[in-house]
Symmetry: D2
Subunit: 430 residues, 4 copies
């Protein structure tokens, strides 16, 4: 068994993971299945879709199975997983209603909030206001205690912590943080760093792998990766790569290789879930937009094109994130052409299997002695972090470029990186 | 100088090549340029867009330049290149009107037609009706003589023949052709094989590289490749890969690697040029549709999905081919998602730089002793032919799969194949 | 109470009507509602959406309420309404599962089939093969007996028959039918007319209003309307106007009034229900396509434009009919512009409230002495039939044009026609 | 002859009007025409497209012809009409190059700018800075003098002034302006009112009809309409209705009559002309967005839906304004459906014939004694102004609703208003 603690347990993604794992999709008499060419997919197949680990390319690697996850986590909204699933309406009721009693037992630990959280979070009654603490270190200690309690309750060896909370406000002072050290935590104000750092640092100190699936800067702060090296903890981040950016890392390299000159890329997103609501506020949106914007230039190798990314909160879409992209390029003689992509996705359905995969990757990494930022997981992220200790890339001898603090990869190169990593390490072990 | 003979000289693609090469796009006072981020692209840059050879990846290879092309060809419509450019309306008039006198001198040689050509072609006055000949061999001899005349007129060493004529009717008896031999040409009826074969065989016998940019079966007939080996002639084909299929070879591998289960792909095309008119007839459409349909299954490795491809003649689009694709897939728990791509391309603007590239590749191949089907050129074709003598792939040791008579490649693998070929051969030479 | 007999009881539309009327959508704790701006719509409001009768414009008219419908009908597939609802997956299970016992009692009467029905229908075991009867009249008598039994079972005064069966094959000989008379039914072969005529004639002879919601030619046969005049029965048809054609009757008049010259309209439809499957066969598609094609020319007043309509069976869409329309027009100086509409509808959800409305309109008509084709109902149909006895239009003095056997109306004129009819008749009564 | 003075003579719309009127589109040998079904439209037909006046519905009314326009105007960019046409690239060069010498003579009068103009305008050297004047009245006098000079130069009776300048900044104090009177102009600061008011007031005092085709508040200021009544001058405004809003006034009434409950309408616009650049700044965008937003609620009669309108400056589109609309609605049982419209328009090509129409309407109005805001012209505007003296509507006895200071009309009602106005007045005259 492996423990999985979500920061944001009651959010759409974590709840989809929990409810998905606890779904029963029987077939003989099931009339609720989405209409497909034929209805004889097995439950195992249906639960495999969207997972990279479950393709034929990663067979034979000793990943843990999600049936062995013991799930818990923090939230600032006190409700059980069953009622949250009904609220989120992401998974059909028929899939999980038989697990009602199990799901009703899953309640969150009280979450930490400080200045950088959304106003809704700050206003929540079910939260620990970090401003009431003396130092940031105290917040870290609370996280450590929560983790330790969970470990003892279920008698767990390994626990992975996944950060899935709503986007924080932009940290405007990342530059200052480059010199921050672990020792400073005892001195700094509890609002100095975002609450996400308390979770990350607490996890590392407890020896727990930590995944940042959000656009926050947590794992970009140098001393945090340093700490993970010291404590032998693998990390992964940041900003899960689900839809629009995935398509950008697919299409931009094609434009380059086919010598189509990009002249403009207009992207608009409409979504109606809480993520969309928070992202519609400029102070929360900046980092996300930056992640989305910074993907084209390093791949193309030039910057004289228009790139617009809009994110709109639009309630009728709910969790079904929709995107419309307009790609304008010049062909022979400079004549303009374009294509438009209308993406009708399901945000949490796309994210959930990636989160499950990442838990397994970090469990594997931890068991096999890897530490620091795991760059081989770049395919999972919009902003794949570059490690300051990148032994993995060096060993694989792949010609991967970097751009600021991120790896620059086409979708296929990112896949090859992951594939090569396991090919080498699984072989090595045998 | 290198000779370039187009079968279909007055068609949209060949005319775009000729007119494009003869375009003058001056910049200081040019107000006709398409609106771009900034208007300071050089003429050289604008003429490079859409060409794979002109990316940074193929620098330093001694390709011939298109300024050294001497262009001629066959057609069944007698008109000069200037008037055809005005008719086709593909390139802005301002780009080429200064080359009027040069373009007005380019007229086609009389083309061959037989049973497999479109009814319009068969009805043309400016054509050689093969049915009036005694054997198929006589048609081949006419082609040889035409080539020889062209060679002598311009005192050329190397001539590349590019087949760009309108789609032929389906050959319903390809199976029978597997045992056909060159010697049979003296006996068979001039309608037994399509006119395209007369061009291909004539070219090979004259030592001229031959490119099939159309969905016809010409180069799939075994004895034709055999002949090219014997006469040391490189070949390339088939069916130029411009828009919709290019996107399929890009997206389908992503679906596979991300474990999105494809449940349906609906593709419709609307175009209003002559190609569209001919393709709207079922007997001419079959091969094209087959090429378009056969691209997904071998990449994905399964076939339980719907795949519909429609081609509609729709005059308001003219040469601006538009496609609408609807891609339906299942994600986690089998929940359906989709995305739609609306492609607003320019058919001949996409094709022209590929044709120019291919001429250069075959000129390179000829000069460097390559013969038979040049598999390294797979990226250029919807239906990249597999050679029966595939030494290239063997040498490069790439794990490329095949499917019936074609290579199965994602867009990126196809690019790597081309890149590796030149890396190896240019290195080897030095 | 009013009886409602559906031909095609187990089809998607009839089943949606039955299941919809029997849905319970409670609000206080309902978590299954589609996400809307606010979730406090009442059940009554939610059941009113899509119904023209339930707008503010038809208040105060004594329509019967659907709670007073007693529903039955014919089908060639023997299953109850509850299992059919689970099969069709059109209405969320949560809405109707509390009505299970009621729905499980609704089974169809055995349907009539003959040469013009689809091969699936002809092959069904649960059917009366008309070819085994001696004359067409015998089929009519079976329908009459079925209706009479239903009337007696529920002690009903008025019964409305609604034809919702799958599209029939084209009748290639409509011209011959102009001289057919009722008396001929005793002589003609049971395959001479489609089975739909047996239902229509049987209904009329039993005094029951008849609605044709399909693209079949039933009500275009002159003696059938004659019969309805003789027997004082109102009729309505044909081919329900749900999505794409509705938009055409909205947009085409705008193009005309704004002087935008239409140069092309390309429409493609993808749908995956049984309707789509049958319509994908050319012999069943012709009438539907004709209805869809004939809507533009009479509105615009010219015909020099391209008009393409495609219907594709595409299973991943199921009942969610999707359409993509491409409208090309010239503006000032002939410069081309276009717009594209991507319609993501739900076929039966659109049709069901129209069917409910039509039953109420014909019940009103019957009670108020109207007979023959009810032209005021034009807004409900793609092919609004012109009556050969059109007293209604004459009385309203509306300048409505006709085109072959149909009324030509913009969407707004069609609405005004309906509105004026009731304004006049309800006033008249008082 | 009638004089036409444009404020914004060198802008895209005014230049398109001038260049369009001076285009020669010959047919026999013209190869530059947009590809259409057949190429035998006459020049007269091609110049009629997009004009409401030139439909069959307004035949026989004595409108002036555009060949009788004498065109001039103000701008803050000093260049002639020929060079501007080359810069704007809206009309194909082939259409107007024969009119070079005529177009090269058209240069603007120096324009007025003050605080409310865009920063580019304020920075222009070719402008009269109103801040250097003593009172607002002085600016009005300059306009009067300009008009008078133009009148004398061409010996004109009637001059129509059309305001087509770039969007001004929002006037934040419209409420204060309700009590402003003409006499105050002598006292107020030249920055108190926007420069557009100087043009409007100057025109009125000179007896010239004035059209506001922009979203500015000019004609909403009460004393300005008062003045027009006093001086017998007809006015028209505001904010030309070209694309997206036109579709809204078409679709929203259909949603209402078909009882589809609107739950959200997301509209995004991308355009790359100067209008787009200015509108991308929030202070200039507010009024435009307000006009676009306020169209749905009054038509639908409810406001519980999401309505988002985005305007993005996106240079690759240039003058070809593109819009993407997403319309979400509930059908039967509250089930959600949607449709999306992708509008590929040409901003100035849509606007130009409307401007030409409006000049003719105001010329007709002036000649026939109409004064004040001409409400019958509502179809031309996104924000059709309500007159404080609306005798026209009263006379026509149409049940037109109002909403704040605008008329609320479906597209078809707006057409009927125009049609009825002329039917009545032309009849009356005879």
């Amino acid at each position: 068994m492996v423990g999985v603690l979500f920061v944001g347990l009651n959010g759409a993604v974590a709840n989809t993971v929990i409810t998905g794992i606890n779904s029963n999709i029987s077939f003989k008499d099931n009339t609720f299945l989405p209409p497909t060419i034929d209805n004889d997919y097995t439950e195992e197949e249906l639960k495999s879709f969207g997972s990279i680990i479950k393709t034929e390319y990663f067979k034979g690697i000793d990943f843990i199975d999600e049936s062995e996850f013991i799930i818990g986590g923090w939230d600032i909204f006190y409700e059980n997983a069953f009622n949250m699933a009904k609220y989120h309406k992401i998974i059909p009721f028929e899939y999980y209603y038989k697990s009602q009693s199990k799901l009703e037992k899953i309640y969150p630990i009280k979450g930490l909030v400080n200045f950088w959280d959304s106003n809704e979070a700050i206003g929540s009654e079910y939260s620990i206001k970090m401003s009431s603490l003396k130092t940031f270190k105290e917040a870290v200690d609370i996280v450590r205690k929560n983790i330790d309690n969970f470990r003892r309750s279920y008698n767990l060896d390994n626990i992975i912590v996944v950060y899935l909370a709503l986007p924080l406000k932009m940290i405007r002072k990342l530059d200052e943080l480059y010199d921050l050290s672990y020792e400073d935590l005892n001195k700094i104000d509890p609002n100095y760093l975002p609450s996400s750092c308390a979770y990350a640092i607490g996890s590392i100190l407890e020896g727990c792998p930590f995944i940042d699936f959000t656009p926050n800067l947590t794992l970009s702060i140098p001393f945090i990766e340093d700490l993970s090296i010291k404590y032998n903890v693998p990390l992964a981040g940041m900003d899960g790569n689900t839809g629009q950016t995935l398509l950008k890392t697919l299409i931009a390299p094609m434009l380059k290789l086919r010598n189509f000159k990009l002249i403009g890329w207009y992207s608009t997103n409409i979504l109606g879930n809480n993520d969309g609501k928070i992202l519609s506020r400029s102070e929360h949106r900046e980092l996300k937009i930056e992640d989305k914007l910074s993907v084209l230039e390093p791949i193309l190798g030039y910057s004289d094109f228009e790139h617009v990314v809009e994110i709109n909160y639009y309630k009728p879409r709910y969790d079904n994130k929709e995107a419309w992209d307009n790609i304008d390029f010049m062909g022979y003689l400079g004549l303009p052409m374009s294509f438009k992509i209308n993406w009708l996705g399901r945000d949490s359905i796309l994210a959930a299997p990636l989160v499950i995969d990442l838990v397994k990757h970090l469990d594997f990494a931890k068991r096999n002695g890897f530490k620091g930022i795991q760059e081989q997981l770049a395919i999972y992220f919009k902003h794949p972090l570059k490690s300051r200790y990148n032994n993995i890339l060096k060993e694989l001898d792949l010609p991967i470029k970097t751009y600021k603090d991120k790896l620059v990869l086409s979708f296929f190169d990112a896949f090859n990186l992951l594939y090569s990593f396991y090919k080498r390490n699984v072989k090595a072990k045998k």
